[in-house]
Symmetry: C2
Subunit: 595 residues, 2 copies
């Protein structure tokens, strides 16, 4: 059987940074070539970064992407990398008038495309066939679907291409790959992290490899882009579903796998020409690379990186999201309020792990209702992590407002949170820090936060992390430190004490909210699973509580709209994933026996 050394370049591109992304492709191609790879594959739309959202609708951006691809092909050859086949995603346009007209779209509409570069030229291209338009994805808005499978013949081996969602659907490229008898299917991806998605991904790759009847190589990007985090997890599986190699999660790098593949059988076109055929009702375009037969070599074993356990995986996702938001938006440092509570302690620890404690500014902003331990726990956190710590009591600012406007009850509580928000924003404006909001998903769900108060910030690391998971992350992070012989960053008392906003004397969250374990269960059912109140009551939750939680969630939509972005880690975040109206009189009906 013919041999091939395949490299999967699990890289971290930046949206819009065409030149820098092309440099990244050059650098990793050189690295792959050094390691003797014959083919190197990069993620979906690596040249533009992903997702580009409405940038896809800007003609100047599409043209720049096309130019960058063409230039990349010649640069590769100029740097002596013309003999390695480079699979690279980019943004193109569909100039096939017959095709776009059939779809009712204008000629020149954008396409999410993958190219194979070799010998200084673009050997073939293929547009994404299945366009996801659910969850965080809006690809029908942007792209015209592709209509063909490209197969490129390296000496003796036929390599087929597919893009991300093409793998999640049965028809189209995967089915055509089998029908066309390819020996390897290379799938380029921009597949955002969700909890436990790595398991689903592996199962899917195994199933599709079996369906395609060949080895399947899956390459995904790493890094953060606004609310999305890409977890890498690139892998190669055989048609027999064996895992032949797997890259680590959340780390960039290059996975190299030596493969013995079945020899190409179908008749190919002459060198330099393209043939067209219909296979299983799908158009197949074949090309042949002008490289010599590969000399036999001794295969090396590929690595199979271990999976990160659950809490560690979520923690790594949030750290990655924050690090890239800071770095890609040009910040050097962050500032956040430290209340002595669990949320701000976990956010501070995440920030220290993401950008270094010396770049993290924590501010204790006690009021007259702040407990002694809220101040000492904040100080202890600073000592444990080494972050830069300051105290700014908010009493004088709060009093100045109260002396001039009559504010009582909730209005006075919110005032304290807003005095803190103004303080943090002042420090941000003065010193250029990015403000981190410390709220968690459970609070955001029920509106248990002060808009323009504790909700201020440029980024909210725990936005998609339910409160019960915040505690788990804290315990996991402390245990991980202990295992390595380091100081656990989070004070024991911040984990153990009952959560409180401390906006009035003796206040604790439990005054207004159910136990967080129960709340998070209800929220998971209602928000993530779209289950009805009748389903929830049938599942055993207290009907009065279900009704109250759902009302809180529905009424807080206006606050969520103005909340900062934060990394998605669940199947449905409060962002692009869940789009509900603010003006909305729908009330989930109670089950029949309750009406």
């Amino acid at each position: 059987m013919p041999q091939i050394r395949l490299a999967l370049a699990q890289v971290n591109p930046t949206v819009g940074a065409l030149e820098a992304n092309a440099d990244l492709v050059l650098r990793f191609t050189a690295h792959a070539a050094d390691r003797g790879a014959h083919v190197v594959a990069f993620p979906e739309m690596v040249l533009t970064g992903y997702p580009v959202e409405d940038l896809a609708l800007r003609g100047s951006f599409v043209e720049a992407s096309r130019r960058t691809l063409a230039t990349l092909a010649t640069r590769l050859t100029a740097e002596g990398l013309g003999q390695i086949a480079v699979v690279v995603g980019y943004l193109d346009r569909d100039d096939d008038a017959a095709h776009t007209q059939r779809l009712g779209r204008p000629k020149g509409s954008p396409q999410n495309t993958v190219a194979l570069l070799h010998g200084g030229r673009v050997v073939t291209t293929q547009a994404k066939h299945h366009l996801p338009n659910y969850g965080v994805f809006d690809e029908f808005r942007y792209f015209v679907p592709g209509d063909h499978l490209s197969i490129v013949r390296l000496p003796g081996i036929d390599v087929a291409l597919a893009i991300c969602e093409d793998l999640w659907q049965e028809g189209g490229p995967v089915a055509a790959t089998r029908a066309a008898g390819a020996g390897l299917l290379v799938v380029v991806n921009g597949s955002p992290y969700e909890r436990d998605k790595d398991d689903a991904r592996l199962d899917l790759c195994r199933r599709r490899a079996a369906q395609a009847g060949c080895v399947l190589a899956y390459v995904n990007m790493v890094g953060g882009q606004d609310e999305l985090v890409f977890d890498g997890d690139s892998l190669v599986v055989g048609a027999d579903e064996a895992v032949l190699g797997r890259a680590p999660q959340f780390e960039d790098g290059c996975l190299t796998v030596d493969l013995d593949l079945p020899a190409a059988m179908a008749a190919g076109p002459p060198l330099g020409e393209t043939s067209h055929e219909y296979t299983a009702d799908y158009l197949v375009r074949r090309s042949v690379l002008s490289i010599e037969s590969l000399a036999p070599y001794t295969p090396e074993p590929a690595g199979v990186a271990p999976r990160i356990p659950d809490q560690g995986e979520v923690y790594a996702a949030v750290v990655t999201g924050l690090r890239d938001y800071v770095r890609k938006n040009g910040f050097q440092s962050v500032v956040l309020g430290l209340s002595g509570g669990i949320d701000s302690a976990v956010v501070a620890t995440i920030a220290c792990d993401a950008i270094g404690a010396q770049n993290v500014y924590g501010v204790s902003m006690p009021s007259s209702y702040s407990s002694e331990h809220s101040k000492s726990d904040a100080r202890e956190l600073a000592e444990r992590t080494g972050l830069r710590f300051a105290t700014v009591p908010i009493g004088p600012m709060v009093r100045a407002f109260l002396d001039n406007i009559e504010l009582t009850g909730l209005a006075e509580e919110n005032l304290q949170a807003r005095a803190r928000g103004v303080t943090l924003m002042g420090l941000s404006n003065q010193y250029g820090h990015l403000v981190l909001a410390t709220g968690n998903k459970s609070e955001l769900a029920v509106g248990y936060s002060t808009i323009y108060g504790d909700a201020v910030g440029g980024y909210a690391p725990l936005k998609d992390v339910p409160k019960t998971l915040v505690w788990e992350l804290a315990r996991w992070r402390n245990a991980a430190a202990q295992e390595k012989g380091e100081t656990p960053p989070i004070p024991r008392r911040s984990i153990d004490k009952p959560p409180s906003a401390e906006l009035r004397p003796g206040q604790v969250d439990a005054d207004s909210l159910p136990d967080y374990a129960v709340l998070d269960d209800i929220l998971d059912d209602y928000v993530e699973q779209d289950r009805s109140s009748a389903d929830l009551v049938a599942a055993g939750f207290d009907p009065e509580l279900v009704g109250r939680v759902i009302r809180m969630v529905d009424a807080a939509e206006y606050k969520r709209r103005q909340y900062p972005p934060g990394p998605k880690i669940t199947t449905r975040n409060f962002g692009r994933d869940r789009r509900v109206p603010i003006t909305n009189e729908w009330k989930e009906p109670l089950p029949p026996e309750m009406r």
Copy 2:
């Protein structure tokens, strides 16, 4: 030729308020019946309100919509309205497993559907065929497209149905209507307002009536739903493109039109049965209503409401958007900061027109940098409009911050805006007012606002109104008052003085921004038309200025994400219409000669 009296019910439903919307349909049907109408048509998804966004994905909501439709049919009969044919939009699901499988969607997927009710039953239904997935629309996310045209025979007349986007596209229902030889095409719509859209809409209706070869009746909703405003403008045009009737913009009501229509020619199914045929490659379902032939009657002339001139139309859209946001979200009153400038003066006037001056609270919040005229102009505005006026100097609050944190330059400027934001939010929390943000689209575009400062609010009436149009609206509103012999609400000086944020001594907008006329031109090209910097320079704009404005727009995306909602009045608002990444290194290239 057979006669028919057609009523178009231009109503204002509320998203999620199924019962109230059904009541609205009953009330307007009774009204149409009183006026002798044989058919009454309501807007797209009138029973659920529109757009329902992710509510479409909640099974409980879909079921409730279906139940509401079934109940409505029997309620109509119970109230003696069984003999009028009622065309009504609602949310349904597609239970045709063969159809959904062909589309790769699960059985039971939601559909945007129109039903014809008569005699206590649902005579026929038809799902939207063309699903818009551009601009503010995401209908591929929600709906499975329909696959047939329903034609219902009233005695002697064949009536065909279509839904909104079906009218904007050539194929599908419109083509099938012609092929099937219908005498009337009723199109139900949820078509959001954009400037000058009424002209485009009339042209389109004329063209499609000619293509369908029959009279076309277009019914649209009125009212506000979050960022969308529906302008009504329901109309009827003949196959000869003559306007047979037209309803006013932004007002609910019932347009009645007497029509002489060609007699139905095609063979229909027996009474109570449905026939199926393929016409022009499209499935046609025919039904026959069990009503007696209509007795001849004397037709009455239909009204053709005059169009509102441009500024008045925009003004009415913003008033409608604000009024419905307040009312549908359960607020009674609004509060806003009055700076003496043009933006807050126009917002205050809009608020007074929307909900009455007695419900509008204006607060002057002078600082040490505030000019004398900023205070007197605010007071004069209050006197002219009759709104409730208060003064809260922010000096003590600003000093309390400055005494405790060192803030200088921009940080100090922003602090003043934030002290005002905290003051307004305090009043909102204390008294339950909705806070109005007063920023305009030009400021929002270039980031010339303070996040959590002047940007606080639940609703931003001028969010989509460029600064130059704000001045036009002010002049138009004053002139309209003068024409009616009323006091012009907006002080002359607020219109004439150079705009200034007054955050430092002698500051005017012109220090940091180009002339607003030039700025708005550039913004229109870059934001709304997606033109490149090269195009802008070719159009004659100063290259340095173009580069600077584009950089400002790109850098302000993070602020726009946290800005309150406001009514869309242009072709591309800063909301669902324009979805660009925050993390984005794309820089529009300078034209070749500038590089």
